[in-house]
Amino acid sequence: MGSLLRIEDLSVCYESTAGRVTALDNVSLDIRPNELLAVVGESGCGKSTLALSIIGLLPNPPARVLKGEVEFKGTNLVQLGQSRMREYRGTEIAMIFQEPLSSLNPVYRVGDQIAEAIMVKRSREEGHASVESDFMQKTHKVGPPPPKASRQLRYRGRMTSELKDKIIASLKLVRIPDPEQVMERYPFELSGGMRQRIMIAMALSQEPALLIADEPTTALDVTTQAQVLKLMKELMDKVKTSVLLITHDLAVACQVAERVAVMYAGDVVEASNVFDLFSKPLHPYTEGLLSCLPTGSKNKVELKPIPGSVPDLRHPIIGCKYTSRCPYAMKVCSEKKPDFIEAKETHEVACFLHGERSGTNPSNN
């Protein structure tokens, strides 16, 4: 079952003058090689915190990792310091965000920014542990400084044709028309869809083992979203990357994911392959979420909204966090928090309605 990334019992909190908010409460999840795992949840469920925890970009003063492991290729990322984490970030684990305009540096041409991504990769291949750069993080210098030639290649006037070809190739890979023109443009001159595709190009130029995409298409038009998602799926196969897709849109997850994890108020409440999740959801929240999506005309479909609202995470809650809105709530639900267990083959859930699959793991109840 070899997993690429294994998150185990991860707890992260945010501390502010208003109190402590537990953004992730004992979360366990794993991502397999070459699969697209969608993490779905509504606002405040902790999905962005999860993404940032993996890649080590949690804002350090308010956020704190309380416990848990994030095991990537055998190393626990949580324990690594910033300097060692940089060796993974951008190279083995890449991330793209929702708003590409703030991910791309507005004062550099797009071609230069892609060039930098390529240069970082080349530096790593050549065995230099570092590359001095303006807008990707500085890494710890180990060994001799990089040769001067590789630094000159960054500047537009002295860019070698080899580098230029590589830039054009990566733009073509993400199906950007007129790549020679586009590489001379500034980010603000391009549309949201193109910017996002450039971000994908930059992220994938590193050939990372894992690409984390945090709501990458939420800010895009519907047709552009379809183009970008389709592209991501195709490139995944080419580059042999796993993708962790964070989204609030269950429909998007249904369209592109192999496996889906559902989060609620800081917990992963259900995780399984997308077909089982959709046809036989085990957790009441997943069930509720599916029945409140409009899937046809009002005359034919009845929306069943989930009553109530998401609990305030500033106040610690005893038992299962979904109890107050759950149609199947039992007494035990407000007393103990259910464990996240494998109820069926590759289908995990945290709910007292579903017991342990017999014969696999010992029950902890």
């Binding site: 519907v222 379809a226 429909a251 998007v252 249904c254 369209q255 592109v256 994911a257 409140c292």
Partner: protein, 330 residues
Amino acid sequence: MVKEVEPILQTTELSKYFPVKRGLNPFSKSKTFVRAVDQVSMTMWKGSTIAVVGESGCGKTTLARTIALLTKPTNGDVVFNGKSIVNGKTDLRLLYRDLQMVFQDPESSLDPNIKVGNTIGEPLEGLMGWGKEEVANAVEKSLAAVGLPPDCVDRLPGQLSGGQKQRVAIARAISPQPKLVILDEPTSALDASVQAQILRLLLQLQKDYTLSYMLITHNIAVAEYLSDFMAVMYSGNIVEYGLTEEIMAKPRHPYTIALIASAPIANPWKRNLLQVEIRGEVPSAINPPPGCKFNPRCPYAEGICTREIPKLQEVSPGHLVACHFVEKTA
């Protein structure tokens, strides 16, 4: 479905052009215009919901604002409740008793310094000139109608959740008991579970108060759910118009086909998204392509498409499409 066949609102060749100023001279007359809404003609029927769907830049929000006279139309006519309202003599105070709007962003819909009760009562003060007691009574009723507790009256928007804020915005819009409510992306900023609550509320209110809705949205699923009629907009023009059921089952305009195909369906066995073949991007508003604005991206485009803007023509009763080669999608 449709209760009466009387139109409540009709637009005829309605246009809104924005001048593009070049240079520093504030007094120069512009020669270039952004055709945000370009000769839009459509009809809304009493008691029904029409969804105006399209992506960013198609002009749907501008259309809504022009119809509500929040911005002055450049050309064309709007007939509301049998009377033309664009002649500049319309008493807005009377108009807005019957025509109201709910905005997209619940955060900016409510003045953060004004209590909920006063916000909901604002249209009653300004449009009806009621006294404090009458207003208070009406506000109480509106709060109950949208499912908010009466003690909300004294709360400030900052103390409410997104869904609650949107309910307040809806309460404000229905407090003068309008006939037509324009809903501009009412649930786009809300989570899925909250969206479902608001959609159900809107349906309930429509039944209780016999409202007509004009729903502006880019979300096809919401449009399909809530609306009886649909108008698809692209770059300022309506490209397809008709019964929602018919358009969803058999879209005829190449853009509508692509749009519906791109809308993610919550069903892993129906992976439409990965089959979508659409290229290019939404055209520039200042420099649109000549002829049919969709022609650079259209798989069926030929000669005439780059010269003439197609007019809406009937392909079946009540179903209109603006395409020179509409027979290709039959």
